[in-house]
């Protein structure tokens, strides 16, 4: 009998309803192989793109991918690239990014990306193949203890030993990755589990009660914070990636709160874009290479409101001298972030959007009070600090300053629908300083782990999610080479990612530290035997642009933007430029180095042991 043929039981009108019920039940217990379940679960979770690399232990899943058209698979050239691409996809969309890799080396190559996503709280799911269950523990070909290896670098992971529970596990994995403080999850699926058949559990039948993080903040603490806000004389908002992870609503509420109160706002590297760089109250990024006015405001404030940031050591500098006179409020969805590094006076555990909503409601209900006079004085003081103009530089001669290159890039691309990724090092800090971000999810960078090689694959993930947008990876030549194999991916899938390489033939940040604290002994911090990047691009079938003269820069950047396809832009820049401002290790916020003249003996022995 046809599955949808009406039953001939003569029960008249009722049969329609019965048919629907039967059909739903059939759906719920639909029998399928584990491999098909993977594809079905991804579809049911709204996944449209998977980044991956096939191998023996995931062949059944690849066979299912071959036989459908709903999910697009992007073949990367190295598993690390797959995970970073999934991260870029996740960061630019707010959705869970998915990577699919094989057992053994496939899984171990994914470890860096997982750790990167863990430190930056990025929701990704990595599906790994595993040797069949009956061979686990026998040192089989391409066997690795994947759940053991990835236990400390995932938010949670699972070894799916039974096809009957595989679908539920996958749905739970999506739930865990995306709720609470987001993070990477991994599901390891042995090959026999992929081949075996069982009933499919749909998302709505999945039990997620075990993991339900607290979303709304305690109202008493919120009242306490609003009271502190009303009387504060020198308040500052210190925001982080948590605002972006909370979703667009959090950024919207943050903007509303800042505009309504007139309180100045700074952000960590991870939080750029939550408040627009063009905003009146924007101080710029804070931290080790943050702006002078931002760090001074943090040091001298009397009320610090941390929203979704975690007092990272790049932010605090010397902890004992960190913002000594301030009352500190901390809004974070993860209770373990509170009091981990800095003692908090007003802790609020909850989702940023929910807490900000409550803060605004309470503040409005209490009469929108704010100490306007004191804040006007405070703003005056901040404007004095702004006059230091800590990002100033002089472009002269025939060599391009990296700052100048980014300033021109900003000028020529700011009107575009633009996404920026970066690698790690000096160029990353300059990009954070000189590029302006008006919206969340537009800035993808490896903050916590500092993964060189992150930016290029991430740009591929971003471009997949936003095919019509301008996606630029601001890179250093050394970082970029770490995952340059992904040129093959970019060309194969016609992803017009722009690789804007600030080429100083140095590991610039390493060189800077060696200059400042290792007696200018530049141990292994230069790039020799670099490829000809133009020829390299051409060898992959892409476009290469070389620019070394400041006079040609604008035209070259325009050529890059206008080319419909991947571009490697080799921008030869000043080789010995240092990144300022800089808070040296072991120093407080108000002892920044602002330029070359201030670097002599700046880092003492105590600071030299810090990273």
């Amino acid at each position: 009998m046809e599955p949808h043929a009406p039953p001939s039981n003569g029960r008249g009108l009722f049969y329609v309803k019965e048919l629907v019920t039967l059909d739903t039940e059939r759906q719920m217990t639909r029998q399928m192989t584990g491999a098909k379940m993977v594809v079905q679960a991804l579809k049911d979770q709204g996944v449209d793109t998977v980044f991956g690399y096939p191998g023996g232990a995931v062949l059944p899943i690849y066979d299912e991918i071959f036989q459908q058209n709903d999910i697009r698979h992007i073949l990367v050239r190295h598993e690390q690239g797959a995970v970073h691409a999934a991260e870029g996809y996740a960061r630019s969309t707010g959705k869970v990014g998915v990577a699919l890799v094989t057992s053994g080396p496939g899984a171990t190559n994914a470890v860096t990306g997982l750790t990167d996503a863990l430190l930056d709280s990025i929701p990704i799911l990595v599906i790994t193949g595993q040797v069949p269950t009956f061979m686990i523990g026998s040192d089989a070909f391409q066997e690795a203890d994947t759940v053991g290896i990835t236990r400390p670098c995932t938010k949670h992971n699972w070894l799916a030993k039974d096809t009957a529970t595989l679908a539920e596990t996958l749905h739970q994995a999506f739930h865990v990755a995306s709720s609470g403080r987001p993070g990477p999850v991994l599901v390891d699926i042995p090959k026999d589990v992929q081949f075996a058949s069982a009933g499919y559990t749909p998302p709505e039948k999945t039990n997620n009660t075990n993991y339900q993080p607290q979303m709304s903040g305690d109202i008493e603490s919120i009242n306490e914070l609003v009271e502190a806000l009303e009387s504060a004389e020198r308040p500052v908002f210190y925001t982080g990636g948590g605002v972006i992870n909370s979703g667009p609503k959090a950024s919207k509420l943050l903007r509303e709160l800042v505009e309504a109160t007139g309180i100045p706002i700074t952000s960590t590297l991870m939080g750029l874009g939550a408040y627009p760089a063009s905003g009146k109250h924007w101080l710029g990024m804070l931290g080790m290479h943050g702006l002078y006015e931002a760090n001074m405001a943090m040091h001298d404030c009397d009320l610090m409101i941390n929203i979704g940031a975690r007092f990272d050591d790049r932010i605090t500098g010397l902890i004992d001298a960190f913002s000594p006179g301030s009352k500190k409020a901390h809004i974070d969805i993860d209770p373990s972030s509170i009091n981990k590094v800095i003692k908090t006076d007003i802790p609020i555990v909850g989702d940023v959007a929910s807490v900000l909503d409550d803060i605004l409601k309470v503040w409005k209900a209490r009469g929108r009070n704010i100490n306007r006079e004191a804040i006007a004085n405070w703003t005056g003081q901040i404007n004095e600090w702004r006059k230091v103009d800590c990002l100033k530089f002089t472009q002269q001669g025939k060599t391009i300053k990296p700052q100048y290159a980014l300033k021109r890039l900003e000028e020529l691309t700011k009107s575009h629908d633009r996404y920026i990724t970066t690698e790690v090092g000096q160029h990353q800090m300059w990009a954070a300083q000189y590029l302006n971000f008006e919206d969340p999810n537009r800035w993808m960078t490896s903050g916590g782990l500092g993964t060189m090689g992150y930016g290029f694959p991430a740009s591929i993930g971003v471009q997949m999610a936003h095919p019509e947008s301008l996606v630029i990876n601001v890179a250093g030549e050394a970082s970029w080479l770490m995952n340059m194999q992904e040129m093959g991916t970019a060309v194969q899938f016609r992803l017009p990612v722009k690789q804007f390489i600030l080429n100083n033939e140095r590991l610039g940040m390493v060189r800077q530290w060696q200059e400042l604290l290792h007696g200018e002994r530049y141990s292994h911090s230069w790039s020799e035997a670099l490829p000809d990047f133009v020829k390299l691009a051409e060898a992959f079938g892409a476009k290469g642009i070389l620019c070394s003269d400041p006079a040609d820069l604008d035209d070259a950047i325009m050529e890059m933007i206008n080319h419909d396809g991947p571009v490697i832009f080799d921008c030869l820049v000043e080789k010995h430029e240092n990144c300022f401002p800089m808070i040296p290790s072991g120093k407080p916020h108000n002892e920044m180095l602002l330029g070359e003249a201030s670097t002599q003996g700046a880092i003492e022995a105590g600071g030299a042991v810090l990273v």
Partner: protein, 187 residues
């Protein structure tokens, strides 16, 4: 110091109570952690302690609810109040962890440990060992003409004291279970 009692999904007991004094005094705390009894859960807990540099003084684990597949891990750990609070918060982050109780600060608790001690000897020493075992209410669970195996339960301190007394009397081997603990009272 207020205790951090983390129960997943609960809004009543949370980090709002978390106002540790940042003192440098090392405190020993007994934590009871209720977890899903799934493969690798113990590794997650132990990995947390080793990965973040916390101490484990004693650890016991067994399934306590066979139908719900829940296990109870009792950990005795040492650290400053800030570190203890951080350990509890970090334990609470582990997905299969349901509850974290700090029995040291959540009111009175009973703590017990079981130990088996093999004591070999003859003559007066053998008699003395048996007499001391009687004082400590230790049971003889195995005996030969040259040895006893004693079973003793009590606090860790009591077992330490008993082991110290047995050492000059021919203590050969000790096996201890680690601490199991429950809060006193009806809840």
């Amino acid at each position: 110091m207020a205790a951090l009692k983390i129960k997943k999904g609960s809004t009543k007991h949370s980090a709002y109570n978390l106002r540790p004094n940042f003192s440098d005094v090392q405190e020993s705390h007994t934590l009871a952690v209720v977890v899903d009894n799934e493969p690798g859960v113990l590794a997650r807990v132990i990995g947390l302690f080793s990965g973040r540099g916390y101490n484990i003084e004693s650890l016991t684990v067994a399934e306590i609810d066979h139908t719900g597949h829940h296990s109870r891990i009792t950990v005795v750990t040492k650290g400053t109040p800030q570190v203890i609070e951080q350990i509890k918060a970090q334990l609470g982050r582990i997905v299969p962890v349901h509850e974290v109780h700090d029995l040291t600060v959540e009111g009175a608790a009973v703590e017990r440990e079981l130990a088996l001690l093999k004591v070999a000897g003859a003559g007066d020493k053998r008699v003395e060992a048996l007499r001391l075992a009687d004082i400590f209410r230790a049971n003889v669970v195995d005996s030969t003409l040259e040895s006893f195996v004693f079973e003793i339960t009590g606090t860790s301190e009591k077992i330490d004291a008993f082991a110290d007394l047995m050492r000059p009397l021919g203590l050969v081997e000790v096996a201890r279970t680690g601490v199991a603990a429950l809060s006193r009272g009806s809840e």
